[in-house]
């Protein structure tokens, strides 16, 4: 049973993001992330929790290709990132929407231009850019602030601009780093509903947060990082909204299990024995 699951996940590329034994260290320092392995099915919704400094942001940075892992394998949308030529990475990045922790809006650009960026770098025609951006900003309630510069907006408005920029190009996966960090609970919940709405439309969502109340309230599964290792807290609403019966939430035991005897099928290709069973 377990072996079958592995095969399905290694071959049938319905996983949006897959990590195998990923380790990350900055320079010569200790490993910030150790043996992180998981697989996110398409259209899943996960929280990423852990104390501050536990490595949530590092994990997200690996996922949005701002960092390269020190070891291990990352594949996104069925592509092994390590073997993907550098010139092909922008195309991969365009399928990833990121809501940065500090928004990282470009202060010299208007709201409109900030949200338009992902379309423009992708070479979308200006007429289509205008149509899509205006439509989306209308949807997030910022239609009256098209020309405003980010510094003149409130924190919540900037957040919505940042989310709009993350989703404008219809990414396959949306990564949000503490998107509810500096908004009140009511706003946080509204944002969560926005993410759930996007998820319902098919976007895979990963939200890093330390707001456990919110996690429990939404009942979605969570990946927990502590001491650089990943474990899973199953959600009360089941693993994945669309594949509850077949898919299991990404998981990894907090304490590494001893390596299993060689697994069959595609799994034998893996060089690092401890990684395989972590897919569960």
């Amino acid at each position: 049973m377990r072996r079958e699951t592995i095969r399905v996940q290694l071959q049938g590329d319905d996983s949006i993001a897959r990590f195998e034994n990923v380790g990350l260290r900055y320079g010569l320092g200790p490993e910030v992330l150790q043996d992180v392995s998981f697989s996110l099915p398409a259209s899943s919704f996960h929280f990423l929790v852990g104390d501050s400094g536990a490595g949530k942001s590092s994990l997200l940075r690996l996922m949005y290709l701002a960092l390269k892992p020190s070891r291990g394998l990352i594949s996104l949308f069925g592509r092994d990132i390590q073997t993907t030529p550098r010139r092909d990475l922008p195309a991969v990045r365009r399928q990833i929407g990121v809501v940065f922790q500090e928004f990282r809006l470009l202060n010299h650009l208007s709201t409109f231009d900030n949200v338009a960026l992902p379309l423009r770098v992708a070479g979308v025609k200006e007429a289509d850019v205008t149509r899509h951006v205006v439509e989306l900003l209308e949807w997030v309630g910022l239609k009256d602030h098209l020309k405003a510069r980010p510094p003149t907006l409130s924190g919540g408005q900037q957040q919505r601009v940042s989310i709009a920029r993350a989703v404008i190009a219809r990414p396959k996966i949306l990564l949000a780093d503490e998107p509810t960090g500096n908004v009140d609970d009511r706003m946080a919940l509204r944002l969560m509903h926005l993410f759930e709405e996007l998820n319902r439309l098919g976007t895979t969502i990963v939200i890093a947060t330390h707001n456990m109340a919110l996690v429990e309230r939404l009942g979605r599964p969570a990946m927990r990082i502590s001491d650089g290792r990943l474990s899973v807290i199953p959600g009360t609403r089941g693993g994945e909204p669309k594949r509850e019966s077949r898919e299991s939430p990404p998981s990894r035991a907090a304490v590494p299990k001893p390596p299993r005897p060689a697994a069959g099928g595609a799994a034998t290709d893996e060089a690092d024995p401890p990684g395989i069973e972590n897919f569960l």
């Binding site: 290709l65 990475l89 990282r104 770098v121 190009a169």
Partner: protein, 294 residues
């Protein structure tokens, strides 16, 4: 691949992009002068080559015996007359000799008291196959006092001088190019670090390196063009002024400085060349820097 009108990076507000055009203007000013110099020198060398190359001078040293001098002259003239490929020959008369000597012996001197050599100005047919060495040997055999001066030594020295100056001017052009590249690299790197945050965002939302590089390249091209035009505006009057002053030195060895349309076009193209240089320098600098990002 770059869009000059719309930029995602606030490059036009950078302080360094205000001084870059002036640095480039200065470079282009120098480049216009140096390049103008190269063109003038090239034209001068060509003119000298034509004007002097087709002639030689036969000189017959004066002896104590005037009848022997006369005989020598006649023999040389006979010999020249029988030599092929000689277009013309003309004995330089006394009045002209005195004019040539005027700077040394002063005006109003008489020839009578001075043993002057006879000079014969010989014009060689264009494209002829006259061997100057053979002519020299035959003359020496017939008239030991005769010597042939084909201006070669004098001309070689001049040509070497011109070549040296041309080389220096070319080196100046190369230095200007290097300095421009260095300035643009420095400015671009400053821009890269000033806008590091925005560039990273562009990178992370999937911008190709060429997209980001294009913004810098487009900006550098504009600044280069602006500076280049300022430099050209300052350099042209300077060049024309130098040409005017040189033109007033009439009768000197300097030929008239006048450029054809081609030369003017080449000078006018300097700002474009500098602009293109700035553009590609900025592009390469950014691409190299971005290659370090994952």
């Amino acid at each position: 691949m770059f869009n000059v009108k719309r930029s995602d990076l606030p490059l036009d507000k950078d302080a360094h992009s205000r001084f870059l055009p002036w640095l480039i203007a200065f470079m282009v000013f120098l480049a216009v002068l140096a390049f103008g110099g190269i063109l003038v020198l090239g034209a001068t060398a060509a003119k000298w080559d034509q004007g002097v190359g087709g002639t030689l001078t036969v000189q017959i040293a004066a002896t104590d015996d005037p009848t022997r001098d006369q005989r020598n002259l006649q023999e040389v003239l006979n010999l020249l007359a029988s030599t092929g490929d000689i277009e013309r020959y003309q004995v330089i008369d006394e009045a002209r000799m005195l004019r040539l000597l005027e700077p040394w012996i002063g005006a109003g001197a008489k020839v009578g008291d001075l043993p002057l050599p006879k000079l014969i100005d010989v014009g060689i047919a264009q494209g002829g196959k006259l061997s100057i060495d053979a002519l020299r040997a035959r003359l020496a055999k017939a008239v030991p006092e005769a010597a042939v001066d084909d201006h070669r030594v004098w001309l070689n020295r001049l040509v070497r001088l011109i070549q040296t100056v041309e080389l220096i001017a070319t080196a100046i052009l190369a230095f200007i190019a290097f300095a421009t590249i260095g300035t643009v690299v420095f400015t671009t790197r400053t821009g890269l670090s000033v806008h590091k945050e925005a560039i990273e965002v562009l990178h992370l939302i999937g911008a190709q390196d060429s997209y980001i590089a294009g913004q810098f390249a487009g900006r550098a091209m504009l600044l280069g063009l602006k500076g280049g035009l300022i430099g050209l505006t300052l350099g042209l009057p300077a060049l024309i002024g130098v040409g005017y002053l040189a033109g007033r030195l009439k009768g000197s060895a300097l030929p008239e400085v006048s450029f054809g349309i081609l030369e003017w076009c080449m000078i006018a193209a300097i700002p474009l060349a500098v602009s293109a240089l700035a553009m590609s320098t900025a592009r390469i600098t950014v691409l190299r820097s971005l290659a370090r990002m994952p």
